[in-house]
Assembly symmetry: D2
Homo-oligomer: 339 residues x 4
């Protein structure tokens, strides 16, 4: 984790300790696909409608898939979601991208597929208004990412025995459940949030993104998260659902030396040798597990009322330092054992 907030590392580490004491975290990958949503235009609705009908048809799907897939060894078009406003058609391409985060790969595929649509499928009156029509949606808050996912979709869960909640987290199960309901569910609802039903997922996501060479501007949607807590037979059951974690283990900032070393440490450096995409998916699971630890720890701190004090003591002890390698023993995201 790369951060200047000293308390973050200590906090996540404490969360990991509690999770490990409870048997580790479970992660489930529920989706994997990067998206790009160009905007194309026609002169009339009749033509825009014809384009949408064709794109939604079997022939359209096949033609576009062939065109798209021809541009890369890794990108495989999964779905196209289309919508019309005025005479504009918005097309959300969703594709696997191997171990790359995939934005460049998908942009290239989209451009070629649109070219084929224009020249070979009878839509030469189509204007490509923008290869990104904000229907992607990249680096901006948007319900479409929350609802349909973008990048990797992961759910992580841990069950923390009640005595660990008390000894490690200095809280109790019912207080945590009430805090989660009143703050993360109701509080965010009152604030008009779409996808922000958590305590501080963005802190953990950003720190890992910086440490592992991800695009830190993509934390805007990557930090989408709903945290759920429940009293399960007296113990604490906690989970985070994160539908749009955008990560890769090749290309971009992952090539820089410290970031590359961190990926290596986590066991997900570069392209996966046998199953392309496994490294990137594993990294997304690590992100979710680390967020789980962060939520657990911060919520416990809030429930115990010592947030401000923690910030003061951790930051004042010294000038904050940016560490792009994890402090020994601190654990970092990889410190969370996953079952």
């Amino acid at each position: 984790m790369a951060t200047t907030e000293g308390v973050l590392v200590a906090s996540t580490s404490r969360g990991c300790k509690a999770i490990n004491a409870g048997g580790g975290a479970i992660t489930v990958l529920t989706g994997d696909g990067m998206t790009r949503g160009p905007c194309v235009g026609f002169e009339t609705l009749t033509r825009a409608g014809a384009a949408k009908v064709w794109l939604d048809s079997e022939e359209g799907q096949r033609t576009m898939k062939n065109a798209f897939n021809s541009t890369s060894r890794f990108a495989r078009l999964q779905t196209m979601k289309t919508a019309i406003a005025g005479t504009y058609v918005y097309i959300r391409f969703k594709t696997t991208t191997g171990d790359a985060m995939g934005m460049n790969m998908i942009s290239k595929g989209v451009e070629h597929a649109l070219h084929v649509m224009s020249t070979e499928a009878g839509f030469d009156d189509m204007a490509i208004i923008s290869v990104s029509g904000n229907y992607c949606t990249d680096k901006k808050p948007a319900a479409i990412n929350w609802i349909d996912g973008r990048g990797k979709s992961v759910v992580a869960e841990a069950i923390i025995p009640k005595d660990v909640v008390q000894s490690v987290l200095k809280s109790n199960v019912d207080a945590l459940v009430e805090l989660n309901t009143s703050k993360n569910l109701i509080g965010s609802a009152m604030a008009g949030s779409i996808g922000g039903f958590n305590a501080h997922a963005a802190n953990i996501v950003t720190a890992i993104f910086l440490a592992t060479g991800q695009d830190p501007a993509q934390n805007v949607e990557s930090c989408n998260c709903i945290t759920v807590m429940k009293n399960l037979h007296g113990n604490l059951q906690i989970s985070v659902s994160m539908p749009s974690i955008e990560v890769g283990t090749i290309g971009g900032g992952t090539l820089l030396e410290p970031q590359s070393a961190m990926l290596d440490l986590l066991g997900v450096k570069g392209a996966h040798p046998t199953n392309p995409g496994d490294n990137a998916r594993q990294l997304a699971r690590i992100v979710a597990a680390a967020v789980l630890a962060g939520e657990l720890s911060l919520c416990s701190a809030l429930a115990a009322g010592h947030l401000v004090k923690a910030h003061m003591s951790h930051n004042r002890s010294a000038v904050p330092t940016r560490s792009s390698t994890p402090a020994p023993g601190a654990g970092g995201p990889g410190g969370c054992r996953r079952r």
Copy 2:
């Protein structure tokens, strides 16, 4: 700007060039106040209602302001916004914070004010559920930040003569206006966005946040932005409205050496000597002006259809480098002249 996306620096620089050719950018500061939204609980609605009535009353306002303001030389409570769900009361404190981003300052003030409310104003049955009830809202997407602002609220504008649009931006006024309408307004509306009506504000915000020692996890809301373009007598009028830029020039990451040097270069290092807060406000104006340049340049590139090509050539020329000081001549955000 600190980024591994090489094209970002070149792009923003091109935007600055166009803006400067048109007479520079105007910025208007329309708000300044950090927020914290605790959740307090009562046993019944009757008591929660009594608390809300008191907080909204003149006596409540005065008592809370006195309590809050006593905790800092800089924090001055501006408003409290209250809401009830169930038996929970959510209170959004909004305060000036001098040249600090202000989260620690405001948390301290909130804790003290709630303590006074509990012990001196007859609400000793109040439970402080969480000093942050997500009604702030910190590091999460939320309409409340978009609508009521958080940190600094800034609008920036530039008018680009039509010949500059052609010569520097390789586009034309009407194409840009249509692109902005179809992508940034309609496209984001179709994607269900709250506050994400722009092309890539997050890229610029994140790069400046890293370069100047801001909290990069706060880009989630700091990148809220609506970009508007208009044909004004044949020229391009472009503006960005950014209601929730969260920045400071003292404390946290601003103390690190390279970040401190960057703030110095921008003329906003540390506390403003005579008017506390002026440095932080100036930094927010710089952020907005840089976003203006970034929007201008990327939208021009999209309108001209050369986004993918630009990414390829800039990134392939060499391994991308992270520069925390601006490349000579590249301009960086400070390179945009503001009128």
Copy 3:
């Protein structure tokens, strides 16, 4: 209640029975003000910024209040909220409107105030783009109504003893709390809702609106509602927060005979004789209390798994009938005793 869904009346009636058995409902009025949000335009941001600064200033507030208030005996301007996008300024006027719902009243006041601003305050370069700039927001989903309120803001609560939950509602406290959390809080969050954290507030709101001569198109925002349930010492504590109930007891459809009779039955017909607005506010409290009953009953039915069966038996017994007067003994909204 006017409805063709036979089950609705029976259901709300059952909810009322449970509420009355528990001591009745409490309602708290937390806000009262109709809004109108015109859009005005300028040629440059500089001028738009000057307008915003003036509107936010003491002089601007005083001038606009005087102008606005001069147009009606009842409308009293409370606040103006302003925002800039591009060269447009959006101004959300909020005003009391006596016992009228108030849209015509406020539109008249807004037009005059803008006229004064244009002719007497130095803004003769201002174009009134639209007396409604959708910043109101009338009859459309919008976070601003959820967060800032529109019309009447009411919270209603009831505490249902556990034995009543079992005997009348055929459910149990913990099942209801879990249903509310998983459906009304988490389910709506997953669906990307702003303000729709309830089971079926719209059913009750619409039925009462039709029965009492309200504008049924305003149920779009009037049905904004978050339902909260809690186990309080073994009993069920339930509440609804409804920030934007738009009702009146004079003008419009309230003049029609059956609707007028219904208002009379509820004791809120016409203008309140001594305290203008009290009748409309009372009607809003009745709406919230009826929604409380509806939430209680439907959630109990869902928890017991007999929703579909209930619909079938109630609707099949006969051709559904539209009754604009309440069935004798059915209770209707007025049948809920409020403490």
Copy 4:
């Protein structure tokens, strides 16, 4: 149209006149499927994940389709969309429903499919928390309806010659385009709207719903609409996109005598004799075309600044009357010719 707002009928009628002068309206149906989103629960994420994997698999899809389709002659399961939060799985069933609006039909199918899943597919540890988990989403604002559609999805367009804009609508093309951008796009964006990018779709939808026996509480999502205007070779091109119009021509309120007569007048009464669903789809197209007329007329009135005056003169001439049959010559929604 059933309304007490006298101006509404006159206004929509004027819009129809302009549309007809321009050659009529085009409508495109882009989707058709009612939804129900139950919430089911498991003890652990592992089990919830297994359920999601099975539901998303070919076997799961086939099993659920067979079970669902066996419950009705008309309901045909199109898709299931699944999401996990905590240990809850939300499943959005989408289905054709013939000429019925379809909520009862789909609820029945969902219950049976979940029963089969529980008893025959190895998920007997599944708890059916609620047959509606708000993931539908019925009668509440929610991005999922805006993005994925619910009921019928329709886009309608008309091109109004510039002289008709002047003679009939008393406005001009550029003024209308600016009004639409500043009010319906930017204004709604500033207000934090999801799906409310129009002037007053709810007025038209509600009036037609009441006149034709639809469920008026479903106008909450049925009025979702984005209005787009463009200068096309000097003429006005206007369209409305409405993704979630929930209507039927059999069952419920359509059986009432006046409503049935209105459906007859529109040529869409009862079940379509040869192609089930065609009547309901046709009604949805009529709704969209009427909204198009309403948008055109109100926006023209706003652009010309005579909204308040129009309300005054139309309502004051007489006590408003509720007409459930259209005034002769007024046109009503059916008065708009569609190409």
